[in-house]
Subunit: 91 residues, 2 copies
DNA sequence: AGTGATTTGTGCGTATGTATG
DNA sequence: CCATACATACGCACAAATCAC
């Protein structure tokens, strides 16, 4: 695992945003497809609390990159279904 | 959305009390029934932090207007089960 | 049909840091 | 100093939906 894929707790950027950035990169690179690791797994993998994991995932949901289904998991939205035109987050 | 349903951060009244007042109005008007929006949703809807949302909900719980159930959500207490006798917070 | 495991949804508690009045 | 308020971040418990058997 490259250092660029690690969470830096001392960085000024919140860890949940770091997680979102990491996953976003992997998703847009086509690396991450289908079902994402479960929240519990992401917690273990990146050494984060569930709060941070869920906040990170929420960012990606708002971006239309992923979708969560209770009882099933969280899934990467296929590229052709992703909102490319208007990123609703002008912020 | 009416202006009366907006949170005024500049008002002398704390925002969490404003939230409680807003929800109380909607509950007593029969507008809000069943499950309330999740805490995270209330944060988004009214543009508040978790602190304020939870404090606001706490006021309504103390007033017997709502009840929270861990793992399920926060629910409006049916009118016939509401304590009408002693309104502990006349404010 | 039923039981248990998995996974997300929700709420509760607590803590730290920053900022304002 | 203290109350208000937001953001971040950890932990836990329980519910609901789904899946696997």
């Amino acid at each position: 695992m490259a250092v660029t894929d690690a969470i830096d707790h001392d960085a000024p950027t919140p860890v949940y945003k770091q997680l979102a950035a990491i996953l976003r990169r992997r998703i847009e690179a086509g690396d991450l497809v289908g079902r994402l690791p479960a929240e519990a797994d992401l917690m273990e993998i990146y050494g984060l609390g569930r709060d941070s994991v869920r906040k990170g995932l929420t960012l990606l949901k708002e971006a239309g990159l992923i979708e969560s289904v209770q009882g099933r998991g969280t899934f990467v939205v296929p590229p052709d279904q992703r909102p490319k035109g208007e990123p609703e987050s002008s912020e």
